[in-house]
Subunit: 372 residues, 2 copies
């Protein structure tokens, strides 16, 4: 993996780069649609590629581990073959789901014991196991196994948790270095900065992560309930301590506004379920503003959902489909929201390269965030 | 509307024709995908047109009447405009849903009082109201308001119900003749033969319906639980008494085998939720046979779902998606099944025109109906 920085903005810390992977290039800043169980909900791989212009998608290790299971993925020749997606992919480590979905869990130095949210069966994940699983899944980028502390979190717990995450990281890297990719394409392991909302911890963690000298670095444990200002503050602080010649990935963020603000702070990569989840609930992002289809005002509005990305279907029709829980509603809305997100990243990149990112951001934010 | 019969098979009663409507031609025999609430479940209109090659689709009057309601449809300029589908459409009369979905209903000479299955509100449908509603929806073909008796049904009830359906038909035709299409495109009203499984009633009904001299004729009240042999017997009998120069539509049928057998008996048009409903439950029709994806044997089968219609996704992946209830599973499976149905109709037509329909049917039925 190679990251080329084409330009760093002079008025902000925004960057435009290219991340070269074994399955093609990713132009940054980039948003990565989330395909939890090996499918970006309601969207086909053809549409992801051709209409939405996704350059990289995610899958969740925890979900894939449970269903279809590693043997199915391995015998398929990896996740790309299994789902028929030949562009880059990223898997999380399973850590986040272990902490968010499993009610019964026990954290020890060795790893985490927990029960499947599907059938209650006992599972044990460790840094080595999470690394092996992600070798088997075969994504181009995979994540270190970390503990993601909740918000709010006491300083003492956040500090101990961060140190555990660091020790686990070293075990992940050791296992990573001792093993090879299974399907003939290189994989990169990204470590994750933790430290909750405590500045000193975030700085310590960023320095520790930077010292590992991996292909890219991630920021975890944000967008978990803290105020946006605190998220921005931590992101800015961490970016200052992460190497500028490696891509920076802010996990689980966020709204279009969050993305533009965090690009300003030096972030290159994002993922979030928000555009697809909001779509299924009728909240639509467009180049003219936000449409809440639950509002009765759209009932007789026969204009296009969005002239650029969804010219063929009207707001009235999409409102009807979503109200009736018709699957086509989720599909149309999700395609719209993801197309908008990918367009926004492309525009941001264009303006970073052109040198007018800040002015563009100031102009477009009030437009795309207004409620129509 | 004009129906041109190109060929009637000499060994069977199969026919190949062309139905000209104000929104384009329909080549018969044809299968019509069901878009209950203005959407063929999980399928976009683009895919219906370009991949599935649907020539005409259905919508259900009862469902559209409830949601989004007639005002939304009328202000849109009709159902085609509303859903963005510019090829022919057909609406049922609402009668079937009144009898199948509504628990509380009261049938009188004037019409049927019933309660919405959504919110329990009181509704009254009559032949005149059903005709007016279908004028407002604006489908190219619409159906007479009938009573669809259950199976089994006593002779006395079936006879009285049939006569009620006939009286209602005359009121539908009167209202139809007194009104005009609302959106500048001609509409045709098809009457419906009833009579349960009683030969004399079916003959009486077919003669009565034939005498109305409408653009096409339908057979209702079959595929409601009776044995297949009885369905075939009634269909054959009715076809003998329906004019050969008008299209014949068998409502709510059926499996691929049912379709080929009923084509043999002289049917030109079919609709059924079976291909899409089965798809969502993992029952897949292919050119090589039927795949039940619930079966564990497909877990590691990475071959294409179907080399012709779904070359890009494997059986193992589709099994996984359907098991996890991922919407993409319903979409892939429904596209496969509908593509197969439309292909089967096109093949049937080709072989009717070529004069070898019977031999082709005998050869293909054991292949497409075998369990893989």
């Amino acid at each position: 993996m190679k990251f080329t920085l084409h330009k760093t903005d002079t008025e902000t810390k925004a960057r435009a780069g290219t991340l070269q992977t074994g399955r093609g290039n990713i132009e940054t800043p980039i948003f990565m649609p989330v395909g939890t169980q090996g499918s970006v909900k309601s969207i086909s791989q053809e549409d992801l590629d051709q209409q939405i212009k996704a350059q990289i998608i995610l899958a969740n290790t925890y979900h894939i581990f449970l269903r279809p299971g590693l043997e199915v993925i391995n015998k398929a020749g990896g996740i790309h073959q299994f789902i028929n997606w030949n562009k880059p992919m990223l898997t999380d480590s399973g850590g986040y789901q272990v902490f968010s979905l499993s009610e019964i869990r026990k954290i020890k130095e060795e790893g985490v014991s927990f029960r499947s949210h599907l059938d209650g069966s006992k599972i044990f994940f460790s840094p080595e196991i999470a690394t092996d699983i992600q070798r088997t899944i075969g994504a181009d980028i995979f994540m270190a196994f970390d503990e993601c502390p909740p918000y709010p979190c006491e300083y003492k717990y956040a500090k101990e948790s961060m140190h555990l995450t660091h020790r686990w990281l070293q075990r992940c890297i050791k296992r990573f270095n001792e093993t090879e990719p299974l399907y003939g394409v290189n994989q990169s392991l990204f470590p994750i900065v933790q430290g909750s909302v405590y500045k000193d911890l975030r700085i310590d963690s960023a320095k520790f992560i930077a010292d590992q000298n991996m292909d890219g670095n991630a920021i975890g444990g944000l967008s978990v309930g803290e105020p946006h200002e605190q998220m921005y503050e931590m992101t800015e602080l961490v970016c200052e301590h992460l190497p500028s010649d490696k891509p920076r990935y802010l996990m689980g963020v966020g709204t279009p506004e969050n993305l533009l603000e965090c690009i300003s702070l030096g972030i290159d990569m994002f993922d979030c379920v928000l555009p697809t989840r909001n779509a299924r609930h009728g909240l639509i992002f467009t180049i003219e503003g936000i449409i809440n289809l639950k509002n009765e005002k759209w009932k007789y509005d026969y204009s296009s959902v969005d002239s650029q990305f969804t010219p063929n279907y009207s707001k009235a029709y999409l409102k009807h489909l979503i109200k009736c829980n018709e699957m086509l509603g989720a599909t149309i809305a999700s395609k719209q929201n993801l197309s908008f997100y990918l367009w926004l990243m492309k525009e941001a990149r264009t303006h970073i390269l052109a040198g007018d990112f800040l002015a563009w951001k100031k102009g477009i934010l009030p437009i795309i965030m207004r409620k129509l």
